[in-house]
Every structure is written in C-alpha cells, then in structure tokens.
Amino acid sequence: MHQFLQQVFSGLAAGAVYASLALALVMIYRATDLVNFAQGEMAMFSTYIAWTLVNAGLPFWGAFLITLAVSFVGGMAVERIVIRPVENAPILTAVVVTIGLLLIFNSLAGWIYSYTLQEFPSPFPDRTLFGALMTTRDLGVIAVTLMMLVALFCFFRFTATGLAMRAAAQNPESARLCGIPVGWMLAVGWGFAAAIGAVAGIMVAPVLFLDPNMMSGVLLYAFTGALLGGITSPIGAVIGGLIVGVTENLVGTYLIASQLKLTVALILIIIVLVFRPNGLFGTAVVRRV
C-alpha cells in the first residue's frame, strides 16, 4: 500500500507536467483549431534559456520569471511570423508548419547547446515527506503547477483581456464586430501557451536531464492527456494530464517494464479515440454542412 501511494504521488507530479503541456496544446487548439506539434520543442528551448540564465549566476526563480517572459514574447512572435500567414490555409498546411517548427527548434537547440545531456538544478530541496510517502520535489512541482492554473483561471475569468480572448476563440466574427482585435488575441494565446510550456519544461528538466529531445516523450503524454480530457476543454486537459501521469507510473511499476511505459500513452490514445472520441470533458463538434 505504501509503495502504491508513493507511485500515485510521483505519478501526480509527472502528471502535473503533462497537464501543463496539455493545457498549452488545448489553448492553441481552441483558438486556432490546430494541434501545435512544436509545443514540446518550444518548451525545451525555453528550458535551455532558463538553464543559460541559471548558469550565468541568476537566482533560480529570477531565471524562471525571465524565461516565462521571454517565452511569452517568443510564442507571440511565432504566431505573428510563422502561423499567421497560414491562418486560412488548409489544416494540413498548418500541421506541416508546426512540424517544421518542431524540427527547427530541435536543431537550433542542438546547434547552440549540443546534444549532450545537461544537469538542470531543481529549486526544491531533496527530502521526503510523510514517512517517505512523497518527496519535496514532487510536492513542489505540483504546487507550482497548481499556482499557475489558479493564476490562469483568474486571468480568463476576471479580466477584460481574458474575456476578450475567450470571445475571440469562441466566435471570431462576432468578437471582431465587438471591436476585439482577434489576430492579436490569438498571438497572446500563443504567448500564454509558450509560457505554460516553459513551466512544464523547467519542472521536468531536473528529472529527465536537459537535452534537445527531452520533451518528445512528454509531448506524447501531454497529447494523450489533452485527448483524454477532451481536446476542447482546459479543465479536461489538466485532469487528463494527471490521469495519464498516474496511470503511466502505476502501469510502469506493476505491469510492464518501465522502458515500455510510452506505449501506455499510445494505448490510451487508441482507447479514447475508439470509445470516447470527445474525451471526458470535451464537447462534440457539430458542423453545419
């Protein structure tokens, strides 16, 4: 029982990271109907920025905040420069563009930072809590993720810009007629997604070690989480991410060799798509033809 609970908690910590990245995917999907395959690589690149800043001698949380700001601006720039020209192109064109972005960020990171694994510092002390039930690191990751979610919720629920962004995502035409600059709202959405991804990258880097391919597995889990929660639901993405984290950890501990853990994600994707294509919290998309 003790081991089981331990695995659940460490699964929740991993799940919190998947949930963050899943949330970033859902934000972009809701705003532009597009799955951003480069989300993980953008997060990886942000993590390298944080790593550079920490190595330059900045305190961890200072580096953390600067990285979020840089990622936010970077995400907006990616939308304005790369995504906007293909806004009205067929969906496959846009998908290929995001895959191109994935390769560019990956190669760029490899070129600048090399493909060697780098150690990334954890901001949390390495101690165990509640009779070795969980570690302070896991607790820290969960806490940071929760704080970020609450901040995002408040932004979207209580500010005029948050309201305008929700409106722009739901009905761009009506939003435009209400005077909302929809294009800029999309760019801000990409900025948020990039910053959320940066949090995920920074939180997972001490565990996985930093290298340009660090996020490829995480992206797959995050994608599974987003699908499981229903790709249109932010709450669903978070819950889906947490479920994937716990499931992956338990299955890896009790059922299969941990090298095979990634297949859990693939199996979950297939199960969701076959039995519940709209996920747990998603809404069916009805299109008038």
């Binding site: 309201l163 305008a164 009905n171 009506s174 005077g179 909302i180 929809v182």
Partner: protein
C-alpha cells in the same frame, strides 16, 4: 435627433448630412452580382426597414456595412466618415452595432459575459494594465459589469445574466445579442431579421423594444426583416432591394403602393 416626421430619402438633399450614406455600392461574387450601385441614406433618429425577396442582397449589404465583406466599388459613410479604411474590428469603435439572423453569441459564456464583450470596444486601459490589476483597470472592470447589466435589463433579460448563452431559448438569445450590440454604444444599429423565428407575441414585444432603442437610447436603426407587419409599423423609411438593386425607397405607405415592389414579390401579371 430629428423629431418631426420629415419627408424621406430622395428629398434629403440640402438638409444636414444623414447618419448613414451608402453610395453606389457594388459587390460581386464571381459572376454573381449581389449588389449593384446601391445608394440610399438614413437620417439620424430614423428606423429604416430594408426589405426584398430572398437573395436580393440584404445580408450582403449588412456584411458590407460591418466590413465583413469588402465592396468592389462605392462607399459607405457614417456621419460623413468613410468606412473604406476600416476593418471589422474598427466597426464597434466607429459606432456600428449589429445582430445576426441566427444569434452569433459566445455559446459557453454567460449572457452577462457576452454583453460585456460588447462593451469591450469602450474599454480604454490596455492588457498590461489589467494584468497588473491597477485600480483604474479594476474600476473599468466594474463599470463594464454595471453597463452590461444595465443593457441586459434594457432588453428584459437581467434574470438570465448568469446562464450560459447556449442554454437560452432562441428568442432570449436574440435579446442577449441585441444587448451585446447595444453595449457597443452604437450610433447605428443593424438588425438582421430580428423577428425571424419568433412567435406572434414575441414579435409584438420586439417591435416595442426596437422603438425604445431608438427613442430612449437615440440610436438610428437599419433592419432587414421579412415580417411585413413589423417593418411597415416600425419604419419611417423602407428601402426595397431586388436582385441587388434598390427598386423603391420611401415612407412605408408609398412603398406599399409601388407597383415595382408588388412585382418583385409576386411576379409580373401578364
């Protein structure tokens, strides 16, 4: 605001600039001419009805007015100001509000939030300010909230403020959409088939509501409508479109007696 029942379009020359001027507007889709040399004016404080058979170009004209379409030729002026350089997102700030045939609300947002989005064009402090939750931004947020509640009350929907738009009845959604358009504080309101899909009683209430928008909020109204009883009783001026051309423009009585209008609706007698 003009209060005396003045003679209408055609006789506008020599008077003060009308609120809305449409001049030689032409719009084609491929080989299909949707609007051809459409010209008419609407004076301040009037309710103008735009009628015509299906496919006459009424909604196309609305889409040109709200800049969702860019007309090929011609111009639209509001208070003498040309809309040629405007995009759809400038329309609210310029003073045009509009509703759609089937209400285009933000489905999962509450009625109140929908109306608040309409007030967005009026908000002045930018994103950075409200991210920092400065007092001025907070005050603005409160004013936005109060203004939105007032508009919901104006259209009689205050009790639905907290309900998601998608859960409301069709008639209720139309009212919320009207409140959202009013929250823009327009000088010109475009209503696209406001009575469509409403029952007899609802149409009567709507007529009274549209009149009070004009009388109490001093908003000029251009409405597309198929419900002849409503158009004829509400409008000070009726413009008839057929195959993208204006075939009649005048007070309701005059338009009703116009033989060309009868032909457009019923066909030619042989």
């Amino acid at each position: 605001m003009t209060t005396s029942p003045l003679p209408l379009a055609g006789a506008t020359a020599g008077r003060a600039t009308p609120l809305l001027e449409i001049a030689q507007l032409t719009m084609r889709f491929g080989g299909i001419v949707a609007l051809e040399n459409v010209s008419f004016t609407v004076s301040k404080g009037r309710i103008a009805g735009l009628i015509g058979p299906n496919g006459a170009g009424k909604t196309t004209l609305f889409n040109c007015l709200s800049r969702l379409y860019r007309p090929e030729r011609g111009d639209v002026r509001l208070n003498g100001r040309s809309l040629r350089q405007c995009t759809a997102s400038d329309i609210a700030a310029i003073g045009i509000g509009r509703t759609f045939q089937s209400p285009a609300l933000f489905a999962s947002m509450t009625a109140l939030d929908n109306v608040k989005v309409g007030g967005h064009a009026r908000g002045r402090s930018g994103a950075l300010l409200d991210a920092a939750t400065l007092p001025s931004a907070r005050r603005e947020e409160r004013e936005l909230d109060e203004a939105a509640r007032a508009m919901l009350a104006f259209v009689g929907m205050e009790s639905a403020a907290a309900r998601p738009a998608a859960s409301l009845s069709f008639a209720a959604r139309k009212r919320v959409e009207l409140a959202r358009a009013l929250a823009v504080r327009p000088s010109l309101l475009l209503l696209d088939e406001p009575a469509g899909g409403l029952n007899h009683d609802e149409v009567a209430e709507l007529g009274a509501l549209i009149r009070s928008v004009r009388d109490k909020l001093a908003i000029t109204i251009l409405l597309v409508e198929h419900h002849m009883g409503l158009v004829m009783s509400l409008s000070d001026q009726v413009v008839v479109l057929n195959f993208g051309r204006v075939i009649a423009d005048g007070p309701p009585d005059q338009v009703r007696g116009n033989p060309a209008v009868g032909e457009a609706y019923l066909g030619t007698r042989h």
